[in-house]
């Protein structure tokens, strides 16, 4: 077990290293320097800025420095927000995204799992059909469309909520619902198919033959194995919620990290783009790692691989 975790941690660190390297050199490959702007900056000012940010050093020196800084969790200064570091910028906007994202995650799980179970138990009947139609729609309709539709209905038509600014939890609900749509649909399909498979296994028949009630069999014995794919899905799920937040936050005017990332792209704020990319990747890689380790604890078959 310890060896498995060690290997996984090592692999995650390797992934992060690749991510940092890739991001660094990609940003350097952009034609034009980070200070190329519509209005030309006087050359002596440019020179000053280049030397201040250490951009005149050879590339490998810059790369080494950046790598070292990232290891010390320092993502460097922002090129556009004077006097702000990328760390501060992330610290300012990420909590908002985290609130919205966590609500979405919880929503996706508490809607997706029961829907999948019911669907599997009532296979081919009306509830199953209904749930699967919804789930198919959930994975096919782009989330910015869902966002726009919800804004139109709840903000403009019904006037129940306000959008365009941040007021804490009450303004987090609609974005969270939007973000939860796709993962909830995906989870319900996942749970349905794995539940159907689990219910056909021998140990379920054994459980029934011991005289256990149907409820106990389904919720205690079957569910435990049926949610395993959901755990594997947690990392991509987080990824989906994170990337979904780019557009969803924009539509709802939520000042989270997603909005901020998109703004830094339009602003060509290179250090911020790099910093946020690395931050997102680190977050995902950690979620992946957690999911893998949890899985190894839950499912002893994993260790055999």
């Amino acid at each position: 077990m310890r060896k498995y975790i060690f290997r996984r941690v090592l692999a995650s660190l390797l992934t992060l290293f690749v991510v940092i390297t890739l991001t660094f050199f990609m940003m350097r490959a952009i034609p034009g320097g980070p200070f190329t702007d519509e209005k030309a900056i006087p050359s002596f000012v440019l020179e000053k800025m280049m030397s201040r940010y250490g951009l005149n050093d050879p590339l490998y020196v810059q790369y080494g420095r950046y790598l070292l800084n990232v290891m010390r969790l320092d993502l460097g200064p922002s090129y556009r927000y004077e006097g702000m570091t990328v760390n501060e910028l992330i610290a300012g906007s990420f909590p908002i995204s985290a609130v919205v994202g966590s609500i979405a995650l919880v929503l996706a799980l508490i809607v997706g799992i029961p829907a999948g179970i019911i669907s599997a138990l009532k296979r081919g009947k009306l509830p199953d059909r209904f749930a699967m139609i919804l789930a198919t729609l959930g994975v096919t309709v782009p989330n910015f469309v869902v966002a726009a539709a919800l804004v139109y209905i709840f903000a403009w038509r019904l006037g129940w909520v306000t959008v365009g600014f941040w007021e804490g939890i009450s303004t987090a609900i609609l974005p969270a619902v939007t973000l939860a749509g796709y993962p909830a649909a995906f989870i319900s399909r996942l749970v349905r198919s794995s539940m159907l498979e689990v219910l056909q296994q021998d140990y379920i028949r054994t459980a029934y033959s011991k005289g256990l009630s149907g409820r106990a069999v389904v919720y205690v014995h079957a569910l435990k194995n049926a949610v395993i794919p959901v755990i594997t899905y947690i990392a991509p799920l987080t990824a989906g919620i994170l990337t979904g937040s780019f557009v969803v936050e924009q539509v709802y005017g939520v000042p989270g990290l997603g909005t901020f990332f998109v703004t830094s792209i339009t602003n060509r704020d290179y250090t911020t783009i790099m910093g946020v990319t690395i931050f997102y990747s680190a977050l995902l890689v950690s979620f992946n790692l957690i999911a893998d380790v949890c899985l190894a604890f839950i499912d002893p078959r994993i260790k055999l691989k």
């Binding site: 782009p142 804004v151 792209i265 992946n288």
Partner: protein, 303 residues
């Protein structure tokens, strides 16, 4: 004494008449028949054909140009003259959606084919060579898998700059990992079969075995993955356009059209409804077709 008549040889017609035989069919004929029995898959296929036809011929047949502005007619609701209404520049939304279909579909198909090409070659080599090479190549794929792709696509788009060509390239070189994995698994499964041994005995080169024997036999899973990756690419393009990294005006994909319409959603909701509906229907159709194809190719999977 015997009756000589009883021992006459049968005529050919009589012989075949008694035989219990069906015409032999190839695997693909079988697949086609199973696919045609799947109503949703057929529906998906029909919708895709219809959308492709509309994308190709629609803009030619329409009386409007996709970039013709008419400020006297801006923001008109749907009517007989403008089926889907007009946008803020008075451009006909119907023809813009049709034109957008060209771009969105082109992105979907081309990007998927690029990633198909890379994935098949990569996965084929990895699976066929095996051993250490395979370990290293699949290690790389594992790393790519754990990288949040969408963020990298955005990053790549920032690097290569917005535009249609950049989208093809970016999506093509980003999403080949799933294809590589599937092709590798298929090649691993097939490479020890007897027909491969036979080819090897006949002196076929490894390249020939891979391209002429292994990959054609892996076509089923490749096709299914392709069917699912096309809507994925359309989706990603819409997303990129929405973030402002898509094709540039006056060209418009469905993503650009939706993105433009969100600003005026409160007043002119139909401007969003049509492009968004087009995206959703297309993705849905590809999903139906993909599901049907998967079942048709491997009937054991059908539950």
């Amino acid at each position: 004494m015997y009756d000589a008549e009883l021992f006459l040889p049968l005529s050919r017609e009589e012989k075949t008449d008694a035989e219990m035989m069906r015409p032999s069919r190839t695997y693909w004929q079988d697949v086609r028949e199973r696919l045609m029995r799947d109503k949703l898959a057929v529906l998906g296929l029909l919708v895709i054909v219809l959308i492709v036809a509309l994308a190709v011929f629609g803009p030619v047949l329409s009386p409007y140009e996709y970039d013709a502005q008419d400020f006297m007619m801006s923001n008109e609701p749907p009517s007989g003259a403008h089926w889907f209404g007009t946008d803020m520049f008075g451009r006909d939304i119907f023809v813009r959606v049709l034109y957008g279909a060209r771009i969105s579909l082109a992105v979907g198909f081309l990007a998927s084919f690029i990633s198909l090409f890379i994935g098949v070659i990569y996965g084929g080599i990895s699976g066929f060579t095996g051993g250490k090479t395979d370990n290293i190549m699949m290690g790389i794929v594992d790393v790519i898998y754990s990288v949040p792709m969408m963020i990298y696509v955005i990053l790549l788009m920032v690097v290569v700059g917005p535009g249609l060509k950049s989208i093809f390239i970016t999506l093509g070189i980003s999403y080949w990992a799933p294809m590589a994995r599937i092709v590798r698994a298929e090649v691993m499964r097939l490479k020890n079969e007897e027909f491969i041994l036979a080819a090897r005995v006949l002196g076929a080169s490894p390249g020939r075995i891979l391209l002429r024997h292994l990959i054609p036999n892996a076509m089923g899973p490749i096709l299914v993955t392709l069917t699912f990756s096309i809507p994925g690419a359309i989706f990603t393009e819409a997303f990129l356009s929405f973030v402002g990294l898509g094709v540039s005006a006056p060209m418009a994909s469905w993503g650009v059209l939706s993105s433009d319409a969100v600003g005026s959603l409160a007043i002119y909701p139909w401007q969003l409804f049509f492009p968004a509906g087009a995206i959703s229907i297309t993705i849905l159709a590809f999903n139906f077709l993909g599901d049907g194809l998967r079942d048709a190719l491997d009937p054991r999977l059908r539950k």
